[in-house]
Amino acid sequence: MELKQHVKAVALATALASSAAVASAQAEEPIRFGLCFDLSKSYSFVSPQVAQAAQDLAMYTNDNGGIEGHPVEIIVRDHGNEPQRGVECYEQLKREGVFNFYFLSTPVTNAVLPRAMKDGNILMQTFVGRGDAVDGEVFEWVFPVGPTYWQQAANDVAFIKEQLGGNLENAKIGFIYLDYPFGQEPIEILKAISEKEGFELDLYPVPLPGSDQSGAWSNIRRDKPDYVISWLLAGGHVVASKEMRRNRFPIDRYLSVNWMNEVDISNIGAKEAKGILRGTNVAGGQDVPIVKTMLETYYANGKGSGPESLVRDVYYNTGMAIYSTGFEAARLAIKANGWPLTPETMKAAFESIENFDANGLMAPLTVTPSDHGGGGKTRVEQWDGDTWVPMTDWSADYLDVVWEVIKESSAKFTVE
């Protein structure tokens, strides 16, 4: 099995490397990816893992001949989650010839979006920024590849429906969320689906940063929802787990947003967290071929781009998924239009990505000119005490409801 996975990983690398010679890669002009991340403040729970994944993947790609012979250059900068510094980073890297950007912070992405749209530069915004940006007809230069929070919430409801025997009419679903835009975002979709399916939706807002949830969980104990969907972050999950125990709410009915990682699990306690659910668009764990390859090729020899502990974290897989997609787009662009790589060819390449799952790393993506999200497929995984076990296959549900909201929201956006 291991050998098979290794072969698969090598196959992926070969696909990335294509036919180019290893030696010539370094001599060619590089393909630059700008990572203006918050590495020092609010998002530092995820950004180091993603940056490390990008650097590792670039190293691996370069060691295997680059993308169509061109080396990949990853430029990492810190913006401290300050919109002004994010703009500064964008403007600076733009002048250095970078046109693929990822900011990994909602406030900064929002601040840069009008500029990227005006300049015609690729803005990757997986898991951050506005959800309606998946509408490629309006947000031509924005690629939020992966599920939006709206789609994720819809998929969560579909999972619950399946678990409850395909009928939600008498069901009760709780939604516990951080009471600011990130947590509030799915409410609109949940309400729309609740009307459609006839289940009762109970909302439990929690003030930032999620350390005080006692009131919410007392209400949950009283309301007895069948499942609780959770839009909390980091320490919020740990507090929720304590409250669940205190209020005797079964942990296997707690379905988290994708932002729950191994650090949160170890803070809850690996055994205590057994049964907890998480919606995700990337496969967790280290059995994923590309992650395994990184561990064997680099980390076993102490040559990784950072500490190994960060590799054993699902956010590393998330970073791998994001940059596998970015690299794949660059490969398709050069293959179709040759060098030089331009924002236009990169955009066209992104839009031609079809059924790409980075060799089992994530939900298969099919990006089109109208859907920049790639289909929005997720699955639910359960923590078994040691690792994440997938409970469903990749799927995207209630697409009609979600797209109605997306279209309604994106219609209000105009580039001036």
């Binding site: 600011y180 209000k412 001036e416």
Partner: protein, 339 residues
């Protein structure tokens, strides 16, 4: 207006430099450093009016800027010409900002700081819970293209001149404030409000005036920040840490120092980015393999140390530091005569 000719010469030099900046400075520095620097300086001067001159500690300044920004953008989206939209933004801020003055009548010092901080949290809550104000479930409100005097402004140079014009306007106002009865009355209120009352200075009136004026400046600055720099408003641009940052700009620059506000903003706003770039370039040129996370934290440490060192050298802030250097140079090489 200027007691020392050197100050006047410096002001004239900066004015000419500011006017010629788009032709001298590369566009990156013009639109990512100069422009936000000028707008934040205007905003910091507004806060300096209420904190430096009138002596009222204000920790909710970003909230007041938010009121101006959102009001102006909503007005502009509604079709109101930008000139009026900016004034509407300023007035809306004045009204909300003056509410702080009523708190200031009852409480002082740290208690007022806490009260204003509470107002900041109220504003955060309102923005996060009113999609009608903040622009839908993503809480981002797009700003229509800025147009002044019938001229649409879309170029970097255009945005820069708008920011420059506003900053000059606020600076002239503040320079004049120093030498008018209003300025002196504010200083009297700051030093001892009941003593000022004995002198016939109505501290109630002047406190409200100080809050209203500074809020007007905040409102217009907030609106211009969005219209010329961010192009859309989001709650995070006016959150509590921004309030603390503006206060830091004023304190590091020097309370009731105009030139100090310029320096303070440069230090708080621009130095983190510059130090960051410097550290990255240095580590690259030395060929050091530093982990990205460590690399991100080094500039923060350097920046923090810089603030501490500056305040240790001159507790009255960068404005006073400038004054010391100027005084030294003015009598140079005869400075030893004073000793």
């Amino acid at each position: 207006m200027f007691k020392v000719p050197a100050d006047r010469n410096l002001a004239v030099f900066f004015l000419l430099f500011g006017l010629g900046a788009p032709f001298i400075i590369p566009s990156l520095y013009l639109n990512s450093y100069m422009l936000p620097w000028l707008i934040w300086t205007a905003a910091a001067l507004g806060l300096n009016l209420v904190t430096g001159w009138a002596g009222q500690l204000h920790l909710g300044y970003a909230a007041v800027m938010a009121v101006g920004a959102y009001s102006a953008i909503h007005a502009a989206r509604f079709g109101v010409p930008w000139e009026f939209a900016l004034i509407i933004g300023g007035l809306a801020s004045s009204v909300i900002g003056s509410l702080f003055a009523f708190a200031a009548l009852r409480v002082k010092g740290l208690y007022l700081a806490l009260t204003t901080l509470a107002m900041q949290f109220v504003m955060d809550w309102v923005l996060n819970h009113s999609p009608a104000i903040s622009g839908g479930s993503h809480a981002s409100l797009q700003s229509p293209t800025l147009a002044l005097l019938g001229q649409e402004i879309t170029s970097d140079t255009g945005f820069y001149y708008v920011a420059f014009g506003w900053c000059v306007l606020v600076t002239i106002f503040m320079l004049n404030l120093k030498r008018t009865g209003l300025g002196r009355a504010l200083v009297a209120v700051r030093e001892k409000d009941f003593a000022a009352a004995i002198l016939g200075v109505n501290s109630f009136y002047y406190k409200i005036l100080a809050f209203a004026t500074s809020s007007f400046i905040a409102g217009v600055s907030g609106a211009l920040l969005v219209a010329t720099f961010f192009f859309l408003a989001a709650p995070e641009q006016f959150s509590v840490n921004v309030s603390i940052q503006v206060l830091a700009m004023v304190i590091v620059g020097g309370l009731s120092s105009i030139i100090g506000s310029y320096f303070g903003v440069a230090l708080i706003l621009l130095v983190p980015g510059l130090v960051n770039g410097f550290v990255v370039v240095t580590s690259q040129s030395l060929g050091m393999q530093i982990n990205v996370e460590t690399l991100a934290h080094i500039p923060n440490a350097v920046y923090g140390a810089l603030i501490v060192i500056i305040l240790l050298i001159e507790p009255l802030g960068l404005g006073k530091l400038y004054g010391n250097i100027r005084d030294y140079l003015m009598v140079w090489p005869f400075d030893q005569l004073r000793k």
